[in-house]
Amino acid sequence: MNALTFSLYILGGSLLAGLLGSLTGLGGGVVLVPMLALLFKVDIHYAIGASLISVIATSSGSAAAYVREGFSNIRIGMFLEIATTLGAIGGAWLATRTPTRGIAIVFGLVLLYSVYLSFQRHDDEIVPQNKWSDRLKMNGAFPAYDGQEQKYSVKHISGGFGAMAGAGILSGLLGIGSGAVKVLAMDHIMRIPFKVSTTTSNFMIGVTAAASAGIYFRRGYISPALSAPVMIGVLLGSLFGAKLLVKSKVKPLRMIFAVVIFFLAVEMIYNGWVGNV
């Protein structure tokens, strides 16, 4: 396969990965890395480098749309970014010390857990007041469905901070946005309303990925001829996915995609286990 055909295949595959990632809410990276590693036989370090770049592009590209909705909370996001960026540096450090097979297995496990989490929904339980939430100015309000303003507070800030450091490590090690873990930390631990968690998490993903992308870049893990079609493909795919999300009913689609991602996860674990990556 020459460079032209290869690039076109990668472009098409990345478009699909971006579409899948945006429709499931898991982000482009979770489909991209297994696709590059298993289907195109790209070394996992290059795959992770290219994926990090696409994660920054989709997160930054969609930020403007999310802000307009008025759900994201910049103070919570900024405070937790201290944890995610430090974690991301740690994850990038771990990436050089973890054998390729280990990375593939951890990737598969995180993927399985993310799919599981994306089907977990529980009703928002609004935290009325918390001393530390007041001190750190994390209280906020968002437009509720009945037109009223719903005020909220935040709890378990240190627990959320710790989980965010974990999300950062995974992001730096695996080249994914780890949106699912970020939402887990905000929604399940800190009890931030779901809409606020998801939009704030999207805002944080780009900053987290930038922290490890610089390290990957200087190590030479970011191969230009591979990253270019990946970045453009994922960006187009996720923009298209965001349009689809507004228009159509995606519940049945989500189910199909979850099954696809489940099999990708099992493939990653299997190939990591037998040393075929």
């Binding site: 396969m1 020459n2 460079a3 032209l4 290869f6 690039s7 195109f40 036989k41 790209v42 070394d43 290059y46 770049i53 920054i56 592009a57 930054s60 930020a63 403007a64 802000v67 307009r68 008025g70 994201s72 910049i74 103070r75 900024m78 405070f79 970014e81 201290i82 960026t85 430090l86 991301a88 540096i89 990038a92 450090w93 100015k137 309000a141 780009g206 900053v207 990925a209 930038a210 922290a211 490890s212 992308a213 610089g214 390290i215 870049f217 200087r218 190590r219 030479g220 893990y221 970011i222 191969s223 230009p224 001829a225 591979l226 990253s227 270019a228 079609p229 970045m231 453009i232 960006l235």
Partner: protein
């Protein structure tokens, strides 16, 4: 009052981010088209890992090549612009919090900015 101001700041920053993504993807696309025009028939190998050449991973070496029309260096320039986009967002927020005289969050966002710059410039 604070809510309104926050939202305006965020809207502005959202636009800055979008402009950064557009600019960097445009630069990357130019590099990709040039690369395929010149090297489209070469056989790529990404299966074996050997880190890319120093010229393509060091900023001060890469920029002169990019301006001389080296396609791979142009792509890397696009990638660098993209990495700089979220950093610019954090830098803008430091300024926005300073305008609001929110000293605590000037410190918080300043710390994030320092961590980001450290990782991009020095961390291994």
């Amino acid at each position: 009052m604070r809510e309104l101001h926050d939202k305006q700041v965020e809207m502005f920053i959202g636009q800055v981010l979008r402009a950064g993504v557009l600019l960097s993807s445009f630069v990357t696309l130019i590099g990709l088209v040039l690369y395929l025009a010149h090297h489209g028939s070469s056989i790529p190998n990404y299966h074996a890992f050997h880190s890319v050449s120093p010229m393509l991973r060091t900023v001060h070496e890469l920029i002169p090549y990019a301006f001389h029309g080296d396609s791979l260096a142009i792509i890397q320039l696009g990638v660098l612009l993209l990495i700089a986009t979220p950093v610019a967002r954090v830098a803008f927020l430091v300024g926005a919090f300073a305008l609001e005289r929110d000293h605590m969050y000037v410190a918080v966002s300043g710390l994030v900015l320092v961590i980001l710059l450290f990782s991009i410039l020095f961390a291994r």
